[in-house]
């Protein structure tokens, strides 16, 4: 059914299709906006399809290699090179495949939504170009197996994001948010480049598997580790380096915010990939694991408590995004802290990692959904200010339903997907350290409290006079939200299927460094 050419070249195609569409989009817009919508929507649909094909192939047949420019796409190590991979390659293992699934679903829903929600704006040609490049950046970041290539895609992602955050201008405020984001992410990217230089200088290698094979954890490696994890933790919005997050999330157009959430998860993926695949047990797992756990706990607590007094609905949701990132850091951090201790890892370590990784995919879905509903409300009433909202439940019923689904999912109310992943995190973390688990539960309660407030002040109450003729948002926007809501419900009702098919292979692929090295270099020797 699917041509073998597509399956064989899917890693290249999923990057090339949005590339080419990004170049075409502005010119298509010259003909007619509808043509551009067709090009962008079609390209995104094709990209999502290819990405899902690749992911299912990886889940069925194990890690996929795609070597750019070699005689054969799977020829990682040239026969005359003495056993080292010399070319840039994509290494798509189950963890990458999981991120690819997230990106495919989110980006497709978001593009469907944004074709309608942004149609009254100027500069849409550039908007869609940057949108597609941002998707390219995420896809490349999560699938590359070459650390310098990772940096290049990271820069594509942050430049495109910065442009899109500033898209609305909004009297300069959006540009201010973009400057804050971009200065920080440039410094972070330069720190990562510094670390890449250190790896190169020590091991003469840029391939992640080769570095992983050769790594010694000398003083230089420690410096490189610190530079990378601090930069990537900053880019995923961990407290206390989260300050850019509410600014950027609140000023970007809502559809972009939903994609920025996925971009943050891609940074998180980079962090986990560095710690697990590059270093694994050479580092002091307990020490670095506790660092990540503490970051996670701080993020959870500070994020949720800062969210409660917010007046701007998107700032509030951005703080919740920080808080939810904390859960992922906590779960995977616990897995890292017991790495190298096989009994503990089997007892609760894998479960904690699965919980954290499951939370990544859940978070991208429900947080994307929530940001899209916030955008839908803005689309109709033109403000994000919670104090000026009220009574919208009478006129925007579908938006309200989607908001309820997202809010209950983020608060961890059964039977939505947030509950399943949070339960896994609670129970496994409880076995590691009960205090952390209790903190996580309290944060979850505060999240629920905060969203009850938001729900009340947006949708409840009598119809306000100023919003008497507000109508429901157009169909395509509802469809975009509907896709994500459907995913939230399905993942909530069948968590075991998702965990067994998507999450558990990802967690094991992450923890098993030998498999990663063997997939690229072969034999692992």
């Amino acid at each position: 059914m699917i041509p073998p050419f597509v399956v064989d070249n899917s890693p290249a195609l999923m990057v090339i299709v949005p590339f080419v569409a990004a170049f075409i989009a502005p010119f298509a817009g010259r003909a007619a906006p509808a043509v551009r919508a067709l090009v962008v929507g079609g390209a995104m649909a094709i990209t999502s399809a290819i990405t899902l094909i690749l992911a299912s192939d990886v889940y069925a047949h194990g890690t996929r290699l795609y070597v750019f420019g070699a005689q054969a796409a799977t020829l990682a190590v040239p026969p005359d090179s003495g056993g080292i991979p010399v070319r840039i390659m994509f290494t798509v293992d189950p963890m990458s495949a999981l991120m690819l699934v997230i990106t495919a679903i989110s980006a497709f829903a978001v593009v469907l939504y944004s074709l309608t929600s942004e149609r009254h704006h100027s500069g849409l040609g550039s908007y869609y170009t940057l949108f597609l490049l941002m998707v390219t950046g995420i896809l490349g970041m999560v699938s590359t197996g070459d650390i310098f290539n990772f940096f290049v895609f990271l820069e594509i992602l942050s430049i495109a994001s910065a442009g899109l955050i500033a898209f609305r201008i909004d009297g300069g405020v959006a540009v201010e948010a973009a400057i804050k984001y971009f200065v920080l992410s440039t410094i972070g990217a330069l720190a990562i480049l510094f670390a890449i230089g250190i790896y190169y200088g020590e091991y003469n290698a840029l391939n992640m598997a080769l570095i992983a094979q050769r790594i010694q954890f000398t003083l230089l490696d420690q410096l490189a580790l610190v530079l990378i994890i601090a930069a990537l933790a900053m880019k995923c919005g961990a407290v206390p380096m989260h300050f850019w997050t509410p600014d950027a999330y609140s000023m970007a157009p809502s559809s972009i915010t939903a994609l920025l959430v996925v971009a943050s998860q891609a940074s998180l993926y980079g962090l986990f990939r560095t710690v697990f695949s590059l270093y694994n047990i050479t580092l002091n797992a307990a020490c670095v694991g506790w660092l990540i756990i503490i970051l996670g706990v701080l993020s959870m607590v500070v994020g949720v408590t800062m969210a409660i007094p917010q007046k701007n609905v998107k700032r509030l949701m951005a703080y919740h995004a920080i808080s939810q990132t904390g859960y992922m850091l906590l779960g995977v951090g616990v897995g890292l802290a017991v790495l190298g201790n096989q009994p503990l890892l089997d007892a609760f370590g894998y479960m904690a990692m699965e919980g954290g990784i499951f939370h990544i995919i859940n978070h991208a879905m429900y947080k994307g959904l929530l940001f899209l509903t916030a955008g839908a409300i803005f689309f109709r009433i033109g403000t994000y200010d919670l104090n000026r909202m009220g009574g919208l439940g009478h006129s925007m019923k579908w938006t309200m339903v989607f908001f309820i689904i997202g809010a209950l999912a983020i608060a961890g109310i059964p039977p939505f997907n947030g509950f399943a992943s949070k339960l896994m995190i609670y129970e496994s973390v409880f076995a590691f350290n009960p205090v952390l688990s209790v903190i996580a539960m309290v944060v979850s309660i505060l999240t629920l409290a905060s969203f009850v407030k938001v729900f009340h002040s947006i949708f409840m109450g009598p119809v306000l006079p100023e919003y008497r003729d507000v109508r429901e948002v157009p169909g395509p926007m509802l469809a975009g939200m509907g896709i994500l809501a459907l995913v939230v419900i399905v993942f909530g009702l069948f968590p075991s299927v998702v965990v067994e098919t998507l999450v558990a292979p990802a967690a094991h692929a992450l923890a098993d460094q030998g498999m990663y090295i063997a997939a690229v270099i072969g034999g692992g020797a």
Partner: protein, 115 residues
């Protein structure tokens, strides 16, 4: 079938389908209890109007409790915490960069000391 849908979470398990069935049963019971209630009220009379100690009902726009008025008790109780936390979010780019650099420095010290 139920084996397929049960999520093993380490110490326990979680089966959302059973949960939904249970919730549906509880809902049916609640509906039954509700249907036993008073049916004899008359539409269109003063029985429908809210009773506010005899005062006239205020306008719709004034009834709505705005978001700024919610949770003031919580914020008031946590005032000491918020007084310290909120001023850290200065909005100053220098502070953003300094926090990042400071955390990098802290990580470096921790990783090098506990290697």
């Amino acid at each position: 079938m139920d084996l397929l849908l049960t999520l093993d979470t380490g110490a326990g398990f979680w089966n959302p389908v059973f949960w939904v069935l249970g919730a549906a049963v509880a809902g049916v019971i609640a509906l039954l209890l509700y249907s036993l209630g008073e049916k004899g009220y008359k539409k269109g009379t003063a029985q429908e109007a809210p009773f506010l100690s005899g005062n006239p009902e205020p306008e719709k726009g004034l009834v709505h409790v705005r978001s700024g008025n919610l949770y003031w008790g919580f914020l008031d109780a946590m005032e000491g915490y918020y007084r310290r936390l909120v001023p850290l979010h200065t909005g100053d780019l220098h502070d953003y960069v300094l926090w990042y650099m400071g955390m990098t420095a802290l990580f470096l010290v921790v990783v090098v000391v506990f290697r």
